[in-house]
């Protein structure tokens, strides 16, 4: 794996200094400061509001101080194994994708995984990436096939029944991608038209639920959607703007239209068997938020201006 973006590009670091200042203003490193934070996540996920299970989806387990591999913990087991196993995406440009130029999996999600590996091993490259589809994320976490999933995964109450999530590390929202000459502005204009999303994503569920009744088309990977759009098999792709940005970057003859109509807070999924690992990962994420690495990754993969990182929100 190549060196982290903030090491390769000092300019990025300078650019993100003001952001880091802002971050430090509200979250001083160390658990003592963090305990004072009230729950103030800006957007509640749509699925949570509509779901039958009421819960506070973005509230995660509070870290017990800075990341530390305690003897007998799940992290100690990972360390004994020699590498972290992460379930990631291989086809979402800028979040988790196999870069054909160097044959490596890279992206914003992947930076998070490297940071966790660094916290466990002191070496960000002690990771085995397992590229999985959207539909495989929950089964793989539950079966223990992967230690953690970093895969543009929305936290919601339904999923919280099956897996645990870290604190929110990215805020996305669903929008619509169409070809440049399409008159459609939103799902409301796509009634009866074929709209693509991956199987097992919250996006496909939102397309199914749209009142205009578009025809949902489910595929394994997001790039498969772009193939279908380019071949004229679907009229639009609708998913998180983070993912759509990556698709639009691969085809200049597409455009993202309409406002965000859902809120999709991304979390790292971990088995409910390993609350110690959830706390550990939350501690790592808190370090990233405060030491500028989050902002550097954002600037590198998503672009500028860099917003404030989503604040950590913990269970009472």
């Amino acid at each position: 794996m190549k060196r982290p973006a903030w090491l390769r590009r000092p300019a990025l670091l300078l650019m993100t200094l003001p952001v880091m200042g802002a971050v430090t203003a509200w979250a001083v490193p160390g658990s003592a400061a963090m305990t004072a934070r009230p729950a103030q996540h800006p957007a509640r996920p749509a699925a949570a509001a509509a779901g039958t299970t009421s819960c506070d989806p973005t509230a995660s387990l509070r870290p017990a101080g800075p990341p530390r591999v305690a003897p007998g913990s799940f992290m100690a087991k990972i360390r004994a194994r020699g590498y972290l196993i992460a379930g990631v995406d291989q086809s979402t440009y800028h979040f988790g994708y196999l870069n054909p130029l160097d044959g490596k999996i890279e992206g914003f999600d992947i930076d998070m995984v490297h940071a966790i590996a660094k916290a466990i091993f002191g070496n960000p490259d002690k990771v085995q990436f397992k590229a999985i589809s959207d539909a495989q994320r929950i089964p793989d976490v539950r079966s223990g096939a992967v230690d953690i999933v970093a895969h543009t995964m929305t936290i919601n109450c339904e999923r919280l029944q099956q897996v645990d999530f870290s604190t929110v590390y990215f805020d996305a929202g669903q929008r619509v991608l169409v070809e440049a000459n399409s008159p459609a502005r939103s799902l409301a204009d796509l009634g009866g038209k074929r709209v693509c999303a991956t199987a097992g994503s919250t996006s496909i569920a939102n397309i199914k639920a749209a009142s205009s009744h578009p025809i949902p088309v489910a595929v394994p990977f997001w790039t498969d959607c772009l193939v279908l759009l380019q071949q004229g098999d679907v009229a639009a792709i609708s998913t998180d703007d983070s993912i759509l940005d990556g698709l639009a970057a691969q085809d200049p003859w597409t455009k993202i239209v309409g406002p965000r109509f859902t809120s999709e807070p991304y979390g790292l999924a971990i088995s409910q068997q390993h609350p110690d690992f959830v706390r550990f990962v939350n501690a790592v994420l808190q370090q990233l938020r405060t030491n500028g690495q989050w902002a550097a990754s954002y600037a590198h993969w998503v672009g500028t201006p860099v917003p404030a990182p989503p604040p950590a929100h913990y269970k009472a």
């Binding site: 440009y93 870069n99 772009l226």
Partner: protein
């Protein structure tokens, strides 16, 4: 033939046997004719019968020969080329699928050799598609060939889009390659498999027509019947006339024996050649081609698993299925191919292929364990580059051995099938001419005797 229409008692009758006068006019004319009592009448009857019999024999023999010759011609001229086209289309497309995948795996700067191999595969598939379409006519294979002709440009278009995107460093390229491979595996290869199967069935039918026993037996029975009739005729004539054998009938008998010998030898030799062509040619070729196509499918699986790197393990599962089917081991494609090739020039290469397969599987397991432990780059290197113990090198050895065995046995097939077909050269005309000689001989032999009564 003049005698047939003449009244029975037309010639002077000096040696009429007693009590053999025809019954009064109440009987049908035919019965009267058959009950002809006078020797000249009997001679006339015999003459007519023998001439007709010789001509019928000639017609029957010529028909059977033409059936066999057209079967042999069909084997050499139509079925074998179509079967070969079918196999080559299937093989070239499988190879294109495997090569495109492993070239893609190498990244934006794919190896030139892989690029050339892919282009050669597509060119070969297109060329064989064209000649197969011409050969297939309106046979059932035509529909599958049309499907292939329509799908091939779509496939190449998707592969080129994948290349272009890959060259730009876009992950979209992998999606296009998956799409292309899905088209290949879901539509094109099944159509190619059907073409190949139909062509093989046609080849089996043509070969059966050229070597089948029932027609030859009918001919043998007819020949026996004719020989018996000729023998009885000459015996009767000898008893009646106390004359030496007539030269005409002797000529007819000799002609009959010659044509019978010619037929028997030609049928035996052609059958031997064509069976040899089948057993040491087309049968091992078909078995080897099946093994090669399965190997190519597994090779594509190996690359696609590394490209796909997830989603699901369907490609690796497919590899295991194909490995199980390919062998070596009892009842597997490779072992069957080695058995089929036994005694043929391809036998050595076929055995080498079986050994190479085992070595390749071991290398594949190394690739999988590298990839599964997160060392994707090293796994890719083992697949895409050559070197001792590299999966790429060992697969090339397997594929090369199978291709060499196929080429060797194809030569056997071609040589024997052509020899088998050439045995029939002139036979059809020959049996007709001999039948006419027989008819003429009978006519002359009997009409000489008949003249003695005038």
């Amino acid at each position: 033939m003049t005698a047939v229409g003449d009244p029975p008692r037309h010639a002077p009758d000096t040696r009429r046997a007693p009590g053999t006068r025809p019954a009064p006019g109440t009987r049908p004319a035919l019965r009267q004719f058959l009950r002809a009592t006078t020797t000249p009448a009997k001679l006339r009857l015999l003459l007519a019968g023998l001439v007709v019999l010789c001509l019928i024999w000639g017609g029957l023999a010529a028909w059977v020969v033409s059936q066999r010759a057209s079967g042999a011609n069909d084997v050499v001229g139509t079925s074998e080329p179509l079967s070969l086209d079918g196999q080559q289309i299937y093989r070239a497309l499988s190879d294109a699928d495997a090569t495109a995948a492993s070239a893609f795996l190498s990244g934006g700067l794919e190896p030139l050799a892989a690029r050339h191999r892919y282009q050669a595969d597509i060119a070969q598939a297109a060329a064989h598609l064209e000649s197969a379409t011409a050969a297939a006519g309106h046979s059932p294979a035509a529909r599958d060939l049309a499907k292939l002709s329509a799908g091939l440009p779509v496939y190449t278009g998707e592969v080129e889009t994948a290349r272009a995107d890959n060259r730009l460093g876009l992950p979209l390229g992998a999606a296009y390659l998956r799409e292309a491979s899905a088209l290949m595996r879901g539509t094109l290869l099944p159509a190619a498999r059907d073409v190949s199967a139909q062509a093989d069935a046609q080849l089996t039918a043509a070969s059966g027509q050229a070597t089948g026993l029932p027609l030859a037996l009918i001919l043998l029975v007819a020949a026996g019947l004719l020989g018996y009739v000729l023998y009885r005729a000459q015996r009767w004539l000898f008893q009646r006339t106390h004359r030496r054998l007539s030269p005409g009938l002797v000529v007819a008998s000799v002609a009959a024996v010659v044509s019978l010998l010619w037929l028997a030898i030609a049928f035996t030799v052609a059958r031997g050649d064509l069976l040899q062509a089948r057993d040491h040619g087309s049968a091992p070729v078909a078995a080897l081609a099946q093994a090669d196509i399965a190997a190519l499918q597994a090779r594509a699986d190996e690359s696609l698993t590394l490209i796909d790197a997830g989603g699901d393990d369907s490609f690796e599962a497919d590899f295991k299925t194909v490995e199980h089917r390919l062998g070596p081991g009892p009842g597997t494609l490779l072992t069957d191919a080695v058995t089929a090739a036994r005694g043929s020039p391809g036998a050595g290469s076929a055995s080498a292929a079986a050994t190479a397969a085992t070595a390749w599987y071991a290398a594949h397991r190394t690739v999988r364990s590298l990839d599964d432990s997160g060392r994707h780059t090293q796994a890719v290197r083992l697949v895409t580059t050559s070197g001792p113990g590299h999966s790429g090198t060992l697969f090339t050895r397997l594929d090369g051995s199978l291709t060499a065995a196929i080429a060797a046995d194809q030569v056997v097939f071609r040589t024997h099938a052509v020899a088998g077909r050439d045995v029939f050269t002139g036979l059809e005309v020959g049996v007709i001419v001999l039948a006419l000689i027989m008819a003429a001989g009978c006519f002359r032999g009997l009409s000489t005797r008949l003249a003695e009564y005038r």
